[in-house]
């Protein structure tokens, strides 16, 4: 990362040609793309891009050009990248799932319980369809906690809200969904 590294985010109603439009503008400014993640959530396109600018003071121009190109419904931000301390990565990877009737307070409750045990969310998605919520999170769980008690606490919190909550090791899902069975793997 250098002084010209920036974070670009775009939020806009989904339609065809958004990525083409963004990358065309970035190319015209000689922006060098380092990392990108994009998804569509409930018909809204969202993207986060880590990039390096060619011009020391080109951020404002790039921002306004992207906004003009994507139209008034799009929200575009471009901010300097700041080195942040790396999130703790100790522990093993688990999948937390919760399903049942939508309950407004459940995500704060579960995420607080994970944080209090020293766990860290590395991926999270939730979806509500016809009043039924499904939460899937990938979390790092420290190796020194009492897993059984953690699972009981999560299940208890879920059942109070009418949800079924499970915490299962990531390797279960790798084993049942990937072609190769890796006996020795760093995929903890």
């Amino acid at each position: 990362m250098n002084d010209q590294t920036h974070i670009l985010t775009v939020l806009t109603p989904d339609h065809r040609g958004i990525i083409a439009a963004i990358t065309r503008v970035l190319g015209a400014h000689d922006a060098h793309l380092l990392e990108l993640s994009q998804t569509v959530v409930r018909d809204y396109f969202t993207i986060i891009v880590v990039l390096t600018l060619a011009q020391p003071d080109g951020a404002a121009v790039l921002n306004s050009e992207l906004a003009a190109r994507l139209g008034p419904d799009a929200t575009v931000t471009l901010v300097p990248y700041r080195d942040a301390p790396a999130a703790p990565t100790h522990g093993e990877r688990y999948i937390l799932t919760a399903t049942g009737s939508d309950s407004p307070g459940i995500l704060p409750t579960l995420s607080e319980m994970v944080a209090n045990r020293g766990g860290n969310f590395t991926d999270l998605s939730t979806r509500v369809v016809d009043g039924e919520i499904s939460i899937i999170a990938e979390i790092q769980v420290p190796g020194d906690i009492r897993l059984d008690q953690f699972q009981i606490d999560l299940q208890h919190a879920g059942s109070e809200a009418g949800l079924r909550v499970r915490l299962q090791h990531n390797r279960l899902f790798v084993a049942t969904n990937e072609v190769a069975f890796r006996r020795i793997s760093n995929d903890s």
Partner: protein
């Protein structure tokens, strides 16, 4: 991260479709416990079982928590006692059974297998004593299971052993009259007995195995049934919408079974390796048999019904179970390089509510069951027959089943239960996982007595001469 739908597919297998790890079975060599002094033999056996398997149950529970997968049974299979207790007599063997029972209770396992002998070509004095001891050994213990290997494709069928076992099964039933002959459910008679089978009652730690090894048996009929139902319902919905490509064929069903078996097997391998590592012993095999329980939705019969055999036992049942068995093996073999044991679809009548119902309604007969076992695992399993069925006739039923195994180079077995004082058409219930069933009629009783009384050995088939 794994795709969200794949995560929920996996969770659904446990949460809604009864997938569990049916058994983790610790195979344990006891040959180093041999002693001509009975007290020493008993103490050594108990010390080794308790010393090696002491952590089995607690370690299995840890693995259950880590992966959120139920492990239904934790069990032990020991070396054939006829070899371990060589030189001892009937009374001593009964004491060995009781000591095994006590050791199993100490470590918290519900069954311990290996009170066994392999007699497919001949019988040592101790093997003979072990068979004699079975009525008392099995009726006076709660956890001890026995397996007898009476035939193999290499040696043929030891009809002396088969005839003797036929009479012994009657004697076991009589000895356990108070429990409707339930002790017979703890004896399996094999052709081509596997050395690494994790499923009870037939599990034995065979020759060529390590000192201790962890074998695992998965289950999952409910998962296969639901996968097929979803496939069929999806196709029917498309068909109703006018999609001409939505017509399913049996090859589509086979493919769905195969993919499902892959995932089931992977669960087994994962759990098996993890538990073996925690116990610091080698991982052996995953047995990918589909093992039903009396619970609704956990049935081989229901799979066949989903495949379009509305009454199990009807014409087409053998073809359907053959396709099921083959697809399960293909999926499982691709999932794991450690497939072993019996690895097929079990059709234990009493333990499968759908099969038990078909038997009660008369569509599933002993003869049709026998035909089905020629293409699946493992044989006439948990079949209740009238209590007055003569030993010769029981031996003849076993001989037929052994012949299927010997001639087809596959494992076959019988677990027959003559129910004292009850006749064909009456019910018997053993409760829990052992289920209930109508007592099946045995026709032409006595008509094969002359044949089985010739005794001796049915020679090995021509195709055993491979060298």
């Amino acid at each position: 991260m794994i795709r969200n739908d794949a995560i929920f597919d996996t969770i659904r297998m446990f949460q809604e479709e009864n997938l569990d790890v049916r058994t983790v079975t610790l195979g344990l060599n006891l040959e180093d416990c041999s002693s001509p002094v009975l007290a020493q033999l008993l103490d050594k056996i108990e010390a080794k079982v308790v010393g090696t398997a002491g952590n089995l149950v607690s370690a299995a529970r840890q693995v259950e928590r880590t992966f959120g997968i139920p492990i239904t049974n934790k069990r032990i299979a020991v070396s054939p006692i006829a070899a371990v207790a060589a030189g001892h007599g009937v009374d001593a063997l009964v004491q060995v059974a009781r000591r095994l029972d006590r050791a199993a209770a100490t470590v918290g396992v519900d069954l311990i297998g290996g009170f066994s002998a392999t007699v497919q070509k001949g019988m040592t004095p101790t093997a003979s004593a072990l068979i004699t001891s079975l009525p008392e050994a099995l009726s006076s213990t709660g956890r001890v299971c026995s397996a007898l290997g009476v035939a193999s494709s290499r040696t043929g069928i030891n009809m002396d052993a088969v005839l003797r076992t036929g009479h012994t099964i009657r004697a076991i039933s009589e000895a356990d009259r108070a429990n409707a002959g339930f002790a017979c459910a703890k004896l399996v008679v094999f052709a081509n007995m596997p050395d690494d089978n994790p499923f009870m009652a037939g599990a034995t730690h065979g020759q060529g195995e390590p000192d201790a090894v962890l074998n695992i048996g998965v289950s999952g009929p409910g998962v296969v049934k639901r996968a097929l139902q979803r496939l069929i319902e999806g196709a029917e919905a498309l068909s109703a919408g006018g999609d001409p490509e939505s017509q399913l064929t049996l090859a589509d069903l086979a493919e769905e079974i195969k993919v499902t078996a892959f995932r089931i097997t992977r669960v087994g391998e994962l759990i098996g390796r993890e538990l073996a590592q925690r116990l610091a012993i080698p991982f052996g095999i995953v047995d990918l048999s589909l093992a039903p329980t009396p619970q609704i939705g956990d049935s081989i019969g229901e799979i066949l019904e989903t495949m379009g055999i509305s009454q199990v036992g009807a014409p087409g049942s053998t073809a359907a179970v053959a396709m099921l068995n083959d697809a399960v093996k293909k999926g499982g073999a691709f999932a794991s390089s450690s497939v072993g044991g019996m690895s097929g679809a079990f059709i234990p009548v009493m333990e499968d509510a759908s099969l038990a119902r078909a038997a009660a309604e008369g569509s599933l007969t002993l003869d049709k069951l026998e035909a089905m076992t020629s293409v699946c695992s493992v044989g006439l399993d948990m079949v209740a027959i009238p209590g007055d069925t003569p030993g010769e006739t029981i031996a003849a039923i076993m001989a037929d089943e052994m012949a299927i195994g010997v001639m087809n180079h596959k494992t076959t077995a019988t677990r027959l239960i003559p129910v004292p004082d009850r006749q064909a058409g009456e019910m018997v219930s053993f409760g829990g996982l052992f289920g209930e069933s109508v007592i099946l009629p045995v026709h032409d009783v006595g008509a094969s007595d002359r044949f089985v009384r010739f005794a001796g050995r049915i020679p090995a088939p021509l195709h055993s001469l491979k060298n």
